[in-house]
């Protein structure tokens, strides 16, 4: 009997790390971390941004070489020097960015991902094999569509299918549900959980969402500042215990105080907006929404349902094909003059890309809304750097922007400080309308609390706030009314007290 014949069909492996350490210059990204993921478990890896979760999985995957420490697979020590080694050991990872090739079809993506892809592909045979493979799989993805035409949820499923197709039985998922509706996320995690319990796969999932961890995972590990701060049974531990391990001694942040307001005056009105995306397909379709003074309207939705297009329309980055925007019942054109006249301000997503010029200085970036007005400009054209710098210094101090100098390029700042600098520019004056998109994406706990407080303060002072966020928790925390965008229009609006996560989820899924 040959060795191959005695080998069982691939089963879920177990994986341990022992004393993993990784140092980048002065930063200890990972300090003596030992985790243990049992065969067939659904294990959550928790931690704030910068806690070392990515570093740990990148060491396991062979992207980084750990300075110290070992990886054991099924109890035996293995050496993973490159992602290729990881792949041949059956360790696969789904990244936050998709690694599928957009111009290839789903079937082509699967076949070419195989190390032994034949030089000439016999599509008839491959298709039969793919069909047989798909029959055993819990999820369905259209195989003949180009990946660029698939929805985010389908892409995410295809990424996981790809790993299973390659016989990878240890799956590392990096925040896999961030692009999915709550319904899709539950379906996918549920199916993966079933596969894990059946002993077909072992899953290590990086997550921020306690709800998912409690609902689907059986064990967890928490990292904080590169160190292991806890691990255990995910069903036994409470959310409070897990979040205490995540954020440590710092106080769990308080929710921003909401002052009661009863304004009835509509400030921002979006009347039947239409806009196209870059390829000319409709991105926004008959969108109607009203925002009153002293109110935050939060727009929830699965990414790619027109939210970014809406923000781009409101900030003048994308033309409207039809429809009108009104502020205080007067027509509003998203141009500089109208932004000033109607006191419209904004915090777009990815501020470095959408709200700043990366290589210009912090002072110059802070002056974008005021450089052409006194005191910076005199006679209508003469720009004096003195007042500009002074104003920047004031705002840097007031908003606690950490920068070496007002003259350093804004791209040198950390994400939270860029966001603070933009906040300083946009919120230091009178605000009537505030448009905010994913303001806390990628920021640490402290910055998140601060930025949400700032937004709430503007609402309490009477601004009409439109908040677009892919983080449903953020929408639920800040909003007075919740709206859901699906397929380019607003399909659901309800006051926060009259709705819940499940209802919002069904509308997000487009039902």
């Amino acid at each position: 009997m040959t060795l191959a014949a005695t080998l069982p069909t691939p089963r879920a492996p177990s994986l341990e790390t022992e004393g993993m350490s990784k140092i980048f210059g002065p930063l200890v990204a990972l300090d003596d971390v030992s985790i243990s993921v049992k065969a067939g478990s659904f294990h959550a890896l928790l931690g704030e941004n910068g806690a070392g979760k990515s570093t740990l999985v990148k060491c396991i995957m062979g992207f980084y070489r750990a300075d110290k420490g070992r990886v054991r697979l099924n109890g035996a020590e293995v050496s993973v020097a490159s992602p290729r080694d990881a792949r041949s050991l059956g360790i696969g990872m789904v990244y936050q960015q998709f690694t599928l090739v957009p111009c290839l079809t789903a079937a082509e993506n699967l076949v070419i991902s195989r190390a032994d892809a034949p030089a000439i592909i016999d599509w008839k045979r491959e298709r039969e094999k793919l069909a047989a493979f798909m029959d055993r799989m819990p999820f369905r993805v259209p195989l003949d569509k180009r990946v660029s035409a698939l929805s985010a949820g389908e892409k995410q499923k295809l990424e996981i299918l790809k790993l299973l197709y390659l016989e990878q039985r240890f799956l590392i998922l990096d925040e896999p549900t961030s692009v999915l509706t709550p319904g899709e996320a539950d379906e996918m995690l549920g199916l993966l959980g079933d596969m894990a319990r059946a002993g077909e796969v072992t899953v290590l999932m990086i997550s921020h969402k306690f709800r998912e961890v409690k609902a689907f995972c059986d064990s967890f590990t928490v990292l904080r500042r590169g160190q292991l701060t806890g691990s255990g049974d995910a069903q036994g531990a409470t959310v409070a215990e897990m979040s205490a391990m995540m954020i440590g001694d710092t106080e769990i942040r308080e929710r921003a105080a909401r002052a009661p307001r009863n304004d009835s005056q509509t400030v921002l009105e979006l009347a039947s907006l239409y806009a196209d995306d870059a390829e000319g397909r409709p991105a926004i379709h008959a969108l109607n929404l009203k925002v009153k003074a002293g109110e935050i309207v939060g727009i929830a939705g699965v990414s790619g349902n027109g939210q970014s297009a809406l923000v781009e329309v409101l900030s003048g980055q994308r033309p409207l094909t039809d429809g009108r925007i009104f502020i205080h019942a007067k027509p509003f054109e998203p141009k500089r003059a109208d932004f000033d006249r109607f006191k419209v301000f904004g915090l777009p997503e990815e501020p470095l890309k959408n709200a700043a010029v990366p290589r210009m200085s912090v002072a110059e970036n802070i002056a974008f809304r005021s450089y052409d007005k006194p005191p910076i400009t005199s006679l209508g054209w003469w720009l004096s750097p003195g007042p500009m710098r002074k104003k920047a210094e004031d705002l840097i101090a007031r908003y606690r922007v950490k920068t070496t100098s007002p003259d350093s390029p804004i791209e040198a700042l950390s994400g939270g400080n860029i966001q603070r600098a933009i906040l300083a520019r946009e919120l230091s004056g009178d605000v009537d309308v505030l448009i905010v998109a994913n303001p806390c994406f990628g920021l640490d706990f402290a910055s998140v609390a601060e930025i949400r407080t700032q937004i709430m303060e503007q609402r309490n002072k009477g601004a009409a706030v439109l908040l677009v966020s892919e983080d449903l928790d953020e929408v639920l925390e800040l909003s007075d009314r919740v709206a859901v965008m699906s397929g380019g229009s607003v399909t659901y609006v309800a006051p926060i007290a009259e709705t819940d996560r499940a209802t919002i989820g069904t509308y997000m899924a487009g039902h």
Binding site: T99, C103, L104, S113, A117, I121, E279, G280
Partner: protein, 306 residues
């Protein structure tokens, strides 16, 4: 214009389209192959002119025009490989390098080509597809060079290979998403080097056609920008080899308009009709720049669409 004259113009147009289109086709297929890998080579004009010179010189010295064709391909291959290698260096812009190679290739050809302007080299033989008709005008029009068929076969082959071979899928993957290719352990620089070199080979052969068949001699004014127009042609063909053939035929027909009208004695506006391919290029660029669906077919890594 009588019916018979119209008939002759039509046949002359078809024959002319086939003749004029062949170099377009080779350069376009070469450019298509290069661009599918995610790089753009604007230097194909240089490959074309150098290929023409080398083909003529080799044919003259060895007496074998087919050896000349091969040598032209070789010269193009070297230029393409150099382009591919230089572009793999950090922070090098492929468009700027391409423009440099355009000048480099033509300059090299002019420098070494001086002694070959006068002598007459053996030319490629055509296949007479219209000889059986007994009509000399039709027979003349349907003289088709074998390279045309090679080009068409190549387009069919490339189109098949892009979808049905591992190499084809890896090439398309490299051109569309370098990150995914890298994640799979594909050496992007190597794929692009090979694609650019192979593309350069095809562009060189296009040059051989110019000097060894039509117009059929070597001089410094031989190419009239076919190498550059092929870039527009590839965009028009939306990076599809089969559509490249049709686009080349369209450009060829436009180029044949002037000469075929002249063949029946209409010489009014001769220069205007000769400019037809350039005008066509202009309109095609405007039309395809406005087409939003064309943008979705472009390889994602191409510097002109990024």
């Amino acid at each position: 214009m009588t019916g018979a004259e119209l008939f002759i113009v039509l046949f002359a147009m078809i024959g002319g389209a086939i003749r004029v289109s062949t170099p377009f086709m080779f350069v376009a297929l070469g450019e298509c192959l290069t661009e599918k890998s995610g790089r753009i080579n604007l230097g194909h004009e240089g490959n074309l002119v150098l290929g023409a010179m080398v083909a003529y010189a080799v044919s003259f010295t060895t007496g074998s025009p087919w050896l000349g064709v091969l040598a032209a391909g070789g010269a193009g291959l070297i230029l393409g490989a150099m382009h591919g290698w230089i572009c793999a260096l950090p922070r090098v812009n492929d468009i700027a390098v391409g423009i440099a190679f355009m000048s480099f290739g033509t300059g090299l050809a002019f420098f070494f080509g001086k002694p070959f302007i006068q002598p007459s080299a053996p030319r490629l033989e055509a296949i007479g597809l219209g000889d059986w008709t007994g009509n000399p005008a039709i027979a003349q029009a349907l003289q088709v060079n074998p390279l045309f068929f090679v080009g068409v076969a190549l387009a069919v082959f490339l189109s098949w290979a892009f979808a049905n071979t591992r190499w084809g899928l890896i090439l398309r993957m490299t051109g569309d998403s370098a990150a995914s290719a890298r994640a799979m352990g594909v050496s992007i620089d190597l794929v692009r080097l090979l694609a650019t070199a192979a593309g350069g080979f095809l562009a060189g052969i296009g040059g051989a056609f110019l000097s060894l068949y039509y117009p059929g001699s070597w001089n410094e004014g031989l190419s009239s920008g076919q190498g550059l127009m092929a870039v527009a042609l590839v965009i028009f063909a939306r990076w599809d080899p089969i559509r490249c053939v049709w686009a080349a035929l369209l450009f060829g027909a436009a180029g044949a308009l002037g000469p075929s009208l002249q063949s029946i004695g209409i010489s009014q506006g001769y220069y205007f009709f000769n400019a037809a391919p350039y005008i066509l290029t202009l309109f095609i660029m405007i039309a395809s720049a406005r087409s939003k669906s064309a943008a979705s077919d472009a390889p994602g890594e191409l510097s002109i669409v990024k």
